[in-house]
Symmetry: C2
Subunit: 208 residues, 2 copies
């Protein structure tokens, strides 16, 4: 099974090398300042070849996010069956982010940190990240639908839960970061979900 032919292994290696080189350069020079030629040169392939592995520069940078979503979906699928959906999502998110931070479960903590920084500083990258999330959120919605016992293609609530969860994480974290840049990401995610679970229709207080 692991023996998948030399050709396959070589491809995997090039792909990995491209990601390595990309993240090294991104970390050193930033996303925009890094050209695709540089990435390709560092791995000794042509830039044309780069585009046979990734459709865009953004895709390399977000390959990590993609894996993260894989894991998130997997973790969510294995949450206890009696948990309410938002609660299950809550714990899944925290779990995945913890793994990233600790570098366990196949994640590289440094690289995760780099991506986090890139996405935070580069709006275009952030946009692509959101786009990626939007595409893959359907998988989450499907699982949520299963839990709720409804068909996610008809009932919009599963999508609602999934997207609101993702959205809450992003925004709350961004808002918090400015106030406390040193905070642990996983703690912020945890707090965001706590607030969300309590409900967000806060009363207006009369101006004194």
């Amino acid at each position: 099974m692991t023996e998948a032919g030399l050709r396959e292994r070589k491809k995997l290696r090039t792909r990995g090398a491209l990601i390595d080189a990309a993240f090294t350069l991104f970390g050193r020079k930033g996303f925009d300042a890094t050209t695709i030629d540089e990435i390709a040169d560092a791995v000794d392939v042509s830039s044309r070849t780069f585009f046979r592995y990734f459709t865009s520069k953004e895709e390399v940078a977000l390959s990590l996010l993609d894996e993260q979503i894989d894991v998130l979906v997997d973790v969510f699928a294995h949450r206890p069956a009696d948990e309410p959906v938002l609660t299950a999502l809550h714990h899944s998110f925290v779990e995945v982010v913890r793994r990233c931070e600790s570098g366990s479960g196949g994640f590289d903590a440094d690289r995760y940190e780099t991506m986090q920084r890139l996405v935070a500083t580069n709006p275009a990258l952030a946009a692509h990240g959101i786009e990626l999330g939007a595409v893959r959120i359907t998988e989450l919605a499907r699982l949520i639908g299963l839990r709720m016992g409804v068909d996610h293609t008809v009932d919009p609530r599963p999508h609602l839960v999934a997207s609101v969860g993702v959205c809450a994480v992003q925004t709350a974290v961004n808002a918090w970061r400015e106030a406390d840049p040193g905070a642990r990401y996983s703690d912020l995610v945890d707090m965001a979900f706590q607030l969300l679970t309590e409900g967000v229709n806060y009363p207006s207080v009369p101006r004194t």
Copy 2:
């Protein structure tokens, strides 16, 4: 006041003409298939000039969304002071979308429809739209903070409400659209907020 100099008026006119031409072409050929040269040619300016009015092709397409957000913020600021925040946001959204659909309040219904279609079919454009929303959401958060009597730069809850609201609208609408393409956008927004207000931590039902 209306007399703001010939130069100003000319600029406004070119800007408007560029938007007009862009939407005409977008509507006819789609977003990607329309080049900036074509847009510029239609208005008889150089493509270089186009970039002096808009930083990217996306920005033209989303200029409408930008105006929409202007109005949304304005409407929200004038909601009754005793409404809970999510409720106020709910009514503001519905109000703005209604205006777009009816073509009142300075909106062009057809153009709105076109933009809606473009964003729905073009993921890159959708991503930019979300990005724009993310940038401008701070204004909303500030107002929400005022209502809640908290400082939105310290307390993340205003941001949370704003982003969750925006996010809910987008996702619920997208999910519904597939099931019922003819539905009125404003009705979908209304329903999305109803669900959101009721809370989203749905219980898991045991698989039979």
